[in-house]
């Protein structure tokens, strides 16, 4: 899947993955896609909840060897 920007949050503990993602999403335009790589286990449930609260859409969420890759479309 193509994305407009990538946030590498691997190795970061909660709340930093979402803090960084929020900053990055503020910097892209509506409809553009942000890709996030994260290893914090809580991210699998926190990202969908966070995206839902902001109206953003999670297009895809995959787990590759413990690295969660999330594609978020900005609302």
């Amino acid at each position: 899947m193509n994305s407009n920007n990538v946030v590498d949050a691997k190795g970061l503990a909660c709340p930093m993955p979402i803090v960084r993602t929020k900053k990055a999403i503020n910097a892209i335009a509506t409809g553009e896609v942000l890709e996030v790589h994260v290893t914090d286990k809580g991210a699998a449930v926190d990202f969908p909840a966070w995206a839902n609260a902001g109206g953003h859409e999670i297009l895809e969420q995959t787990d590759e060897d413990g690295v969660l890759k999330i594609f978020i479309k900005k609302a």
Binding site: A13, I18, V19, D46, A49, W50
Partner: protein, 375 residues
Amino acid sequence: MTVSKWTAADVARKVIDNKQLFILDVRNADAFADWKIEGHQFDYVNIPYFELLDGVEDILPQIPIDKDVLVVCAKEGSSIMIANMLAEEGREVGYLAGGMKSWSTYIEPIKVGDLANGGELYQFVRLGKGCLSYMVISEGEAAVIDAVRFTEVFTNFAAEKNVTIKHVFDTHLHADHISGGRHIAEATGATYYLPSKDAEEVVFDYTALEDGLMVQIGASKIDVGALYSPGHTIGSTSFIVDGRYLLTGDILFIDSIGRPDLAGLAEDWVGDLRETLYSRYRELAEDLIVLPAHFMIIDELNADGTVAKRLGDLFADNHGLNIEDEATFRSMVTDHLPPQPNAYQEIRQVNMGKITPDNDEQTEMEIGPNRCAVR
């Protein structure tokens, strides 16, 4: 304002001393709904941390200024961030060091009572998970029953009391938490007992815990006697200690009864559960004090923090002991069960010795409430 750091022990004090506490839980809504810190006089607001990244001004009216405020999250990172934001707004707040992970593992030993000839009985209350373990102490010796996986809690306590652990029992093969029994026995040279009917698949050596087994703790003969009481599992065994206490394992709780399904055989075991609760236990003295292996809700705690109640009172008050119709009972314990404990199948595998996850993985498996009961 500065942010204060609370330990799980500080929070446990609030629970046991029946104090007020306001908890701002910043985990996501599902995690909060599933499992939280319970206290008799605790109030809560759940606002996920990711909804507060732009500031906490909007929630200030919801945060009281006349009582202790504790910010809680899964590990601690988010609670530190939110607590700092509240402090910048002039609020005095604390955060829970280690978050819900540390709450899940914290254990408070509380004395239940004195036994004959100077003996003592202690209950180890794991508040966050609702697990209860026991240590019987008499004349330099000790027995441990249903120990959780933090073995040093028990070995350190024994050292403090200057006693040697001689016997370690599990009332059954646990499905909600990882047993520390086998490892305590290995560390101390004690005998580890497990009901053989629960142990058909275990891959380590153990001593069979059979009905009628009697061990003595200390020279003055405090008896720990085994009473076969199947139903939660097919091997579930109770203990009568010093003729005064009935350790029921996961068969009978204060305000609920054991569920028969965690090993996948609810239909097969419901009859055993019925017979244990309605026949075997009925033949026992009503003045026995019931000491279960779990509590489910904070109301089951006594004023001193222990979880204990007279058997006769349970016959009168516990709903699960008062269902006359067998078909109704069967339906209650098989048809309308709550969700199973987190990772219960993997936990059973660990307790059989079949898999050996590392400490972090064990912590992750044990997240959440125990869910061993039906009400």
